[in-house]
């Protein structure tokens, strides 16, 4: 059965765009947006949007005067705030010397559009709708050789019932710069469609942590594109725990040699949540290394999806691409899908993938119980132990306590 298109939403985008006719790139973007992905499309087969497409949604009008209390969670971080998809300078901290933030003008927007259209996110629903509906495209520029022990905490909040929110962020790290960011998605409302493009220059390094913790009735369809130059590094860790439905889709491309990337993630799902970590890594140049470790903890009647694609181009010799997904089911009705995909055209590479789905070990649970530890606590202890290696490998020591706290809060609701 074919998915019904949500024509009302499409029309509402077009109406929204017409209200802002001066931004001509939006017309270009919106013309391409004609339908939601169908479950007949391979990459959306495991994450169906049927329920979403039957809702009546319009893009939100960002209210720049909306007063919303933003609370940073990380000590000493530089806090940047997006509310209803719009950057709020009045709710953000000052950036240090070496980092600038500005709203793209029309010419820059067209250039941005053309870059995004060349990535594999070109047909993602968030690409077209967010380019059409975002109040502004914000760019964070990191100067060459910049380094700091302070990280940037970006908080995305706001949203409304039957409205869609469209934050668009472009981050460029110039040569030999270093940056750490933590992004927290804490929306309420119906639909969030974050779009990101990250360009990491030669010898530059970006450490990124994303916490997806939107309201339990929210849909979050995040699309991220990452491009790595020679000898650069991208270390990403995502924790998905909130929302009714979150799909975090990352397309990462090696555009230079001797670069490295870790794309790790954890999803903690309960009730009837649906969490999807979809990645695609394109080894287009030789001597690059990618690693993906995914852990899932599923309770209630939730579903978890990991789709990990690694494509190695014919000239990408000496590629090292590793992928491992492990899931624990803590209830009989939860289900997990893991779809690793290796497409290898070079002949001197090391690539591996693995996927396991299982339950907590009865002997381990009994051992803990026999020491007086109640069942819920015993499960929490074993699950935290299960997540320990991915957290210690993916996240700086200074952030590990914060991640454990976030993970434990997510576990609390599914272990009851």
């Amino acid at each position: 059965m074919l998915l019904k298109q949500n024509n009302e939403y499409i029309h509402s985008i077009q109406n929204y765009v017409q209200a802002f006719e001066k931004n001509s790139f939006r017309h270009i973007a919106s013309n391409d947006f004609s339908k939601w992905p169908s479950p007949l499309e391979e990459t959306w087969r495991l994450s169906r949007l049927g329920k979403l497409t039957r809702k009546k949604i319009e893009p939100i009008h960002s209210d720049f005067k909306k007063n919303i209390r933003i609370k940073a969670k990380i000590k000493n971080a530089i806090c940047l705030s997006f509310v209803d998809g719009a950057y709020r300078e009045d709710l953000s901290d000052e950036l240090p010397v070496g980092i600038t933030l500005h709203q793209l003008n029309e010419k820059e927007c067209l250039s941005f559009l053309s870059k995004i259209k060349k990535t594999n996110l070109a047909n993602h629903p968030s690409t077209n709708s967010s380019l059409s509906c975002t109040p502004s495209i914000i760019k964070i520029n990191v100067d060459a050789h910049f380094s700091s022990n302070r990280l940037i905490e970006i908080i995305y909040s706001g949203g409304m019932d039957n409205k869609s929110v469209h934050p668009v962020l472009y981050i460029e790290l110039k040569k030999s710069s270093n940056l750490s960011i933590v992004e927290r998605f804490n929306h309420s409302g119906t639909l969030i469609m974050p779009l990101q493009l990250i360009e990491i220059g030669e010898l530059a390094s970006l450490k990124s942590v994303k916490i997806f913790d939107d309201n339990k009735t929210t849909y979050n369809l995040s699309a991220h594109s990452v491009i790595l130059s020679d000898k650069s590094n991208y270390n990403s860790f995502s924790l998905i725990k909130g929302s009714e439905f979150t799909r975090s889709e990352t397309h990462a491309e090696f555009k230079g040699q001797h670069a490295t990337m870790n794309l790790n993630g954890v999803y903690i799902s309960g009730g009837d949540q649906h969490h999807d970590l979809t990645t695609a890594i394109y080894h287009n140049h030789p001597n690059c290394t990618s690693k993906q470790i995914v852990r899932g903890v599923l309770g209630g009647e939730s579903t978890g999806v990991f789709q990990g694609k690694v494509r190695v181009a014919p000239d990408a010799q000496k590629t090292d691409g590793q992928q491992m997904s492990k899931v624990i089911l803590v209830s009989d009705k939860a289900s997990a899908n893991a779809k690793p995909e290796l497409e290898i055209y070079a002949d001197d590479v090391v690539c591996a993938h693995g996927a396991t789905v299982g339950e907590l070990d009865d002997d381990e649970l009994f051992y803990l119980n026999s020491r007086g530890i109640p069942l819920d606590k015993a499960r929490e202890i074993l699950i935290i132990a299960f997540l320990e290696d991915i957290i210690t490998q993916s996240v700086d020591l200074s952030l590990q306590d914060f991640i454990y706290t976030e993970a434990k809060a997510g576990l609390l609701s599914i272990l009851k």
Binding site: E364, F366, S370, I373, K377, I381, A385, F386
Partner: protein, 250 residues
């Protein structure tokens, strides 16, 4: 009143009758040894007492300080003062030794209405007790039982016993896999905890352990029933004549 009383315990596993009406009374200050050949029901008895899922009594009762345990889950029995030292202690990858011990001790303390120990106070206490049990500090920092030798695992079990201060301890074949030196160290650790207010059940194949942990009573378990009870001399009889002699005589 006995500290632990087993009343006509019957238990089936996979439709096979394993325990066939076991009765036992253990009073404060006593050490009871349960001996028997392979397949006699010794481990089943220990899991039954500890409350493992799948080891529920078909009929009969278990009383700890007069309170019935049969409706209590394993964690509740442990908090109430029952301790099982495993024959094969379970490895817990990623679960740190100190965190694990602290969680267990604080669960018991909470049950007894005592204040939970904070991290520093706990670490000080556990290090003191660990050194008495010859458990190295380095072992406490590692994941529970992961990479431990057989002797180290058994010493860690006895360390847990010392920290939890149970009312009744069941030592399930604590001597298995131990050389003479390790046996002596583990036995010293157990003996140091004997008191007038607790009791210990030692489950073993061999008389050897009972030279170090000298019991007050010895019971011979065969085919799910206690077929003979006596003093420590009964263990020496087993050593001399084997189980067959005693089983045939019964």
């Amino acid at each position: 009143m006995s500290l632990l009383e087993i009343k006509k315990a019957y238990l089936k596993l996979d439709n096979k009758q394993i325990l066939k009406g076991i009765s036992l009374s253990v009073n404060a200050g006593e050490v009871h040894a349960i001996m028997g050949p392979n397949g006699s029901g010794k481990s089943t008895m220990s899991y039954m007492l500890a409350g493992r899922n799948g080891y529920e009594l078909e009929s009969g009762d278990i009383l700890l300080n007069g309170d019935s345990l049969i409706e209590m889950a394993a964690d509740e029995r442990a908090r109430s003062g029952l301790f099982l030292a495993f024959q094969y202690p379970v490895e817990l990858p990623g679960v740190g030794g100190i965190a694990f011990l602290r969680e267990a001790v604080n669960s018991r303390r909470k049950h007894l209405g005592k204040k939970e120990l904070d991290h520093l106070a706990f670490v000080k206490e556990v290090r003191k007790v660990a050194s008495e049990m010859f458990v190295k500090d380095e072992m406490l920092k590692r994941s529970v039982n992961v990479g431990f030798s057989g002797g180290e695992k058994k010493r860690f079990e006895i360390l847990q016993m010392a920290m939890l201060k149970p009312t009744v301890s069941i030592l399930d074949e604590t001597d298995s896999g131990l050389d003479v030196d390790a046996l002596k160290t583990v036995s010293d650790g157990v003996n140091s905890q004997r008191s007038d207010s607790n009791a210990i059940i030692v489950i073993t194949h061999y008389q050897r352990l009972l030279d170090y942990i000298v019991p007050d009573y010895v019971h011979i378990l065969s085919d799910g029933m206690i077929i003979k009870s006596g003093g420590p001399e009964l263990a020496r009889e087993v050593e001399k004549n084997g189980y067959a002699g005693i089983i045939n005589a019964s």
